[in-house]
Subunit: 374 residues, 2 copies
């Protein structure tokens, strides 16, 4: 198998666990947050910046790379790692989420999804086979099955039909996947907010014995409590010797709650997206640094942070850059936000290894909630 998971330690009081995910491009210490590099670049960040902040794996988007620059071009370049000069692991999603998010621009059939490009309206057709062809060309270490990420809320019938199709599509993905020895195909458990459907999906997907599994269809607009309820139901069904990936989650509280419930891998555009709006993630909540309140604040974004940005630049300077639309401002906040989340995950992991995750969890959730109320 292309990837292998080693479980190092389980928290006896929660679902939290620490492990190592071995991949063709190196080991990943889990639990881990994966920065998102939509178009073969984590926005504003150079590969060396990503290494500096300790990024061990990044995520990139099949839908976007298929449209620009095209997977055939990436293949000609020697694969995605070489194209973007990133020699550590890469996970690519299946494009499912992006395609289904196109709304009126797409039509779902049993064969696949016909959609129009959000860029130029041109017509395209994604099938499980096509999505495998694209991800095989990209050469990412972990590739995701083509699934349907259903909207919230969805009817029981819709959710059931969809999850069953997702299982059928997964079987077609497995059949079409050309590089199972160098690229690990992860299955995705769906079922919406219906616990019995989550059970059905888990049983069907897990029966196919894949190198890893994701919980999909969460963080799509439902209250966080709903997400946690689905995780509490679903994760315990997942095997202990395989990595568990919660897709599209990146707020600090949700990462902590996800780890609490047994998740190993997360990704989200949140840290880089809010950075570009001038908002920093800090140990005391979010700081909207573009606000006038920070114009003469000569302290770092986060006084508890050891990152390069917090060691070298002030809120006043970064605010000035953001107000002037200077690219460096976006870069500095993106860098800090990603460092903040990666460092947070390192601390979570260490607390699991040290046997005091429950205490760490309690303290952190309290701090996060206090920061939110400020």
């Amino acid at each position: 198998m292309a990837v292998k998971y080693t479980l190092l330690k389980e928290c006896p009081h929660t679902g939290a666990r620490a492990g190592i995910l071995h991949t063709p491009h190196g080991d990943i210490e889990t639990p881990i947050f994966m920065p998102v590099g939509t178009l073969a670049t984590v926005k504003t960040m150079e590969p060396k910046d990503l290494k500096e902040i300790g990024a061990q794996i990044i995520l990139s988007n099949t839908y976007h790379l298929y449209l620009r620059p095209g997977h055939q071009l990436v293949k000609k370049a020697g694969g995605l790692h070489k194209f973007m000069n990133w020699d550590r692991p890469i996970l690519t999603d299946s494009g499912g989420f992006q395609v289904f998010s196109l709304g009126d621009l797409r039509k779902i059939t049993e064969e696949g999804v016909e959609f129009r490009s959000h860029l130029d309206g041109s017509k395209h057709f994604f099938t499980p086979e096509k999505v495998m062809e694209i991800q095989n060309a990209l050469g990412s270490d972990i590739i995701m099955a083509f699934d349907e990420c259903i909207p919230y809320p969805a009817t029981y019938e819709y959710a059931k039909n969809s999850l069953e199709r997702t299982t059928r599509w997964l079987k077609r993905c497995i059949a079409a996947h050309e590089n199972p020895h160098s690229q690990a195909l992860f299955g995705i458990i769906q079922g919406g907010m219906y616990l019995d459907l989550r059970t059905q999906s888990a049983e069907e997907i897990l029966a196919l014995d894949l190198p890893g599994y994701a919980v999909g269809g969460l963080s799509v607009g439902e209250p966080k409590e709903e997400m946690y309820r689905v995780l509490e139901h679903t994760v315990p069904m997942m095997p202990k010797d395989k990595p568990r990936y919660l897709m599209g989650v990146g707020s600090d509280d949700a990462l902590l709650e996800g780890v609490y419930r047994g998740i190993d891998m997360f990704d989200c555009v949140l840290p880089t997206r809010i950075a570009r709006n001038g908002t920093a993630m800090t140990s005391h909540g979010r700081v909207v640094v573009r606000n006038a309140a920070y114009s003469e604040d000569f302290t770092p974004l986060d006084q508890n942070c050891n990152c390069y940005v917090c060691q070298n630049f002030t809120r006043a300077y970064i605010r000035h850059l953001v107000k002037c639309n200077e690219i460096l401002g976006l870069k500095l906040i993106s860098y800090h936000n990603l460092y903040y989340l990666l460092d947070f995950m390192r601390k979570i992991r260490q607390s699991i290894l040290d046997g005091n995750f429950p205490q760490y969890y309690k303290e952190k959730i309290k701090l996060i909630n206090e920061g939110r109320e400020k």
Copy 2:
């Protein structure tokens, strides 16, 4: 005096010379190109990037910093060096060029220039005294006198009146300058394209015994041959023991021609501005990397370049980034273009020290012209 120039070597066949400019924030090896950091940031570049490419001094703009974030805020931050986290030398211009470029938005009197902000139309008044106050607050190592940069073409009478006012304003700058021991005030020789007026201006300005002098009013739209003609006339009048600065010049051929005629310092937004349009400066001419011709070109921006960008990224990847409006694309080309010019200046300097500048000049001008004809 705040700065001191040591002449190391003169080319016996041309005006070229190599030296060291000692400043409160370190020594600068001349001839030198100064990257422009308009708003307290060299666009897209971090201070550590600037050090990596060997930038020894940067330029920042009084007019822009006065408007945003305001010189008083920069002073509160501990000065411009601390505000932007750049501990090497900084030169600030006087705002003269920007203010005069405002056209209908400004009115010149003997007292100074009334102008409206290009941002919000608010009314402001720059005098020699005000411009000294601003630059004293910024704390830059080298500050420029408030002069009038006249348009091209200009009548003889306009040029003469203007240069005489520039001399009177320079005397007011000297009187108002509060930190002559930590900030070196450079005078600016004007006179347009009229050689006798250049002589008059040089005589008036040089009589005031300042730590350095600039040749202003060039690179304002005149043919390059005109600029070289004015330099050939003016530079020989300038003292050998003071640095000579040609303002606003940054194309590789003009740098070479400037050094040939005895110039030590240059600045220009060109390398970063054309980078943001997707154009790279290379040893074989400019490469418009956003062009379709480079979509599958897996070679570096410049095969003869040793910079981080050329060692790690291909034209195809950078083109992809530029086409997708990814910030990293602008950053990578900016980085390379600045490295290209700084490295070019290092080579020019070395050829002067090695005693073979004339030969280097001849080969390079030939290469540059061939690149242009391609």
